[in-house]
Symmetry: D3
């Protein structure tokens, strides 16, 4: 049986889940692990505050604990990484947060990231999270586009703002990669890459990629003889 | 034509190249990128000092610049990451150093690594390198086994020492992963995993995995319209 | 009408609530603010894991938001500070976490704290939390007594272990204060002070004291003319 | 006999002492500790340089050592905290510096402070002091109003500048609290609060509040049985 | 026989060597150590990239190892400090890098440096090097003049740009010293000092001065009885 | 007229002054600056506490301000660097603290220092001072010999303890240089060097050497045309 990965969208917005599912097609080759995306129906409409993230966290770890035997790795597809730490307590398989993975992927490339956020309020939350990961020192800037999660699918409006913020990250802050700081921005990776000319990291792609590699490397903790 | 990755062993020891080539079989599936391992014949016998690393660095970046059109990503398979920074100046494709990638992979797993080095002299070099990457704060300890690169293939002697150091990293320093701090230790990943019960990161596997993912994500820098 | 402070025990253990209520008598003078302690009945039995803390967090911020008009300041009486950040988004009155306040009170005294934890598993969570507050650099050590929250009221067993760990913090780690790293340890402040001879900080006392002072100073955010 | 706190103005300006005495009325309730403010007559006219601070330091610790038996806690009411560390060597009662306490009070509120200084020359001294406390990483900015200590009582001139700098700290530097970086600015707390809409910390109020709480908590070091 | 110091210009530009030789006349007094400047003929034309620095490094350590018995101290006169660390492995006499020495000399003066670089590309290399030395936190800014090494001897063009960048470092970044971030800028120390009014550190002068002092102090490592 | 340097012993112990004067003979060559050592008669008997350091500080800066026209550079020869920062405000000539200079000289050599202190109480003061200089991260350990300043001239007792602590710094803490953390230890540099086999830095020698070099480089701040 092939390996499989569960990708969890902690918000209840199925458009966001569909968008990330589409973006993960890059990994769907013949002998690749199965990738399953799931929406948490009881989750908040979008994770736009610490309150939303706190609401999502126990739902995420509950789901991962329940599915522990059915998947080989787990990805929490929300840029606040809700429930990731608790999930690691509960299962002995790799659990990836998309913010943590996107930031470290940029470091692997030897490049310092700039982050595109949705709302101004997300920026301080992102910094606090990056500090708790001790990765804040790598980020050159985190700039908001000023749209809510539900408006991200308005392609015309969102696209223009995302490209404009990407250019500012490159020109004013010397960003060397761009991280899409919201799981719902996946569809804009292409336009942003071609308009800004920097590597653009979709964090869900980064985390699922990391999960595939960890499975290949067999990087789970096994009980050791004492 | 499938994508391809060049993995460079900067020392002239073809045993080391063969061992890493074998370890990379985990990525050789039907539709995976081609992985080519190459020895730098003029390189030092092993990278056991800053002097050795300095000798290897310009050879590595010279080779990568020459092969720029023939591969989609490059991996420098020496735990001192010689020539990685210079190579990134010369080509616009992803270049991975195995130390940098192994350390960040451990961070992606939410786990703090302990490193197994070959000689005592490697330890301080590793710390200086980790400092220059600003990743030193994540490492719990770096302990040597006291063997030279050329003696790593003596399985009996090396195996015992590696397992013993791995246990110390786990028990005395609370390491949450073990990183094999030398490209030549790949063959001991299995025994170490089963004896110590922590995820064991072979840094060459980590870096080649990261290269495969970056190719899938199309993470190279392309010229942007100004 | 006098000012009032709501002190929230996020776990469902009413013994813990009663113990902290008793410890807060030091602030119950004629003209002091009213101090009300409340148990979250739906909370976890004790906060002994990240999972428990995640479960408590949304309950805490929900309660604080609901009681926003009825109190002048809020204290979250759990050493993991669950829900504190979200609560600050929701109300414009001061919200104190007892870990954050205890650590900073030690700094105010010019003294570096050692922390006494309940279980070994709490230690790493405490460090991660201290890192996210950027206060980890002040802490000399965090040592567990190896009891569960529900066993902390067993005075004989707990008292001996707490004093023993307090002495180790003083003698081996040069702690200059001792912080009781669990809201349920309040009753042992006296014995620990007399046996160890260092200032012993009960974090709930620290946070309620800080709340009283902030009320006197009128330190809430008011809307400014633009 | 009620507890009592000695608040020391290390400069010889009795206007400054009177202003802080007035600001401390917020703590003068029926059963509160007695608060005594005292001017050091031989102190410098104002602490406007490292030289001034160096002159004040031994006078401060000399006074505190002499009054050791007469008070339960001590506050050094100068934003350079002169003599605080030496005083802690000499007495076993809590000694508070107003800079150290104001900065940590802001951290207790979960808010990052901006500091208002008197002269440009104070700014670098403040940073050096904050570095020695390891609290510099929390401060968003320290901006001078360009007045000397003796001109701070000119209400018209000072008030306008303080409000203007407070607005810059809020708007340009995202300060989340404002700290009055000079003991003589106490009278402007009200106007600044109403004009800027952030919590405004008078550092002398912060330190005396911390002293009251520490007395209630009985946080002095007592000799321990060995 | 008097002591002697070998100063190595790792690039092949003899104009640069001549300029530094002239600048070192300040140390050529009657009883001073002999100072010999040497060009590495096979070195790169100038060190303007990591690739150039990598090429220079093994040449430098090879030369120092060969001359080990003929000199009492060694100075590597290139602001990327190529080969310094490897040289320290090979000889037991003091080896100074001019970047490392210039930065620490500024710290010895209690002043934070601003650095003048040649090309924009040098700036990021300088920061990476400063990070690996853990000295990056002292530098206020590093600004390029936009000239190549070979154009630095064009006095009219270079002089104007250097003075202009020096003024920006002083006025916009509050630099307290200016470091000439290229061994070839020695001739502009005078004009920069008189135009900017800050101490201007020629890093080759700094390093040779440090070498003279270390010789007087007899600071080499000698074998100790075990 | 030759340049001249004033070296100030801030304590009143003339034995200490005589010892440092003797140690500075290494710089007394034909064309070297004149070096004058002076005792502050009103200073404390030794700087063994923060209180002592506070007492010394204003005496030091007063003397330097008075002698401003008579010397070209100043050295404060006490390992607490009392009065150094204030003196830099008062004169525009270089002022060196011996702790700051010794630590940076070790960094210039690429070696991490261990420090030998006199009393246990000095250790924490040294760390606080190193933190305020942001140099604490370079120091491997600071260990006391347990003698008072006045007992340092008892050669038999002091010599044995200093060598023993030096060996521990080398063997247990991997010190790469030894710094004598008290101006009165100069006479033990020879024996420590030969017994421990590491470079041993007498901080007064380090600072006077730095002063000589700064004079040669003409590194004072001169008024700039605006």
């Amino acid at each position: 049986m092939p390996a499989s990965i569960l990708v969890i969208n902690p918000n209840s917005n199925t458009d966001v889940t569909a968008a990330m599912d589409w973006a993960l097609n890059i990994y769907r080759t013949d002998d690749a692990p199965t990738i399953v995306c799931r929406t948490i129906a009881e989750g908040p409409a979008g994770v736009e505050s610490q309150r939303d993230s706190d609401l999502a966290a126990p739902l995420v770890s509950h789901l991962i604990a329940n599915e522990s035997d059915n998947f080989d790795a787990f990805v929490v597809a929300c840029y606040s990484d809700p429930g990731v730490r608790a999930s690691r307590e509960l299962v002995d398989k790799p659990v990836f947060g998309i913010a943590e993975t996107a930031l470290t992927q940029s470091i692997q490339l030897g490049r310092r990231p700039g982050v595109i956020s949705i709302l101004e309020a997300a920026v301080e939350r992102h910094w606090a999270h990056a500090r708790s990961l001790k990765l804040d020192g790598f980020i050159v800037a985190d700039l908001p586009i000023g749209l809510r999660v539900k408006d991200i699918s308005d392609e015309e409006k969102a696209s223009e703002r995302i490209v404009s913020v990407g250019r500012r990250l490159r020109d004013e802050y010397h960003a060397e990669t761009i991280i899409l700081g919201c799981a719902g921005m996946a569809r804009y990776r292409g336009i942003l890459t071609s308009e800004v000319g920097l590597p653009v990291i979709d964090p869900t792609q980064a985390a699922v990629g990391a999960a595939i590699v960890a499975i290949r490397q067999d990087l789970h903790a096994s009980p050791a003889p004492q």
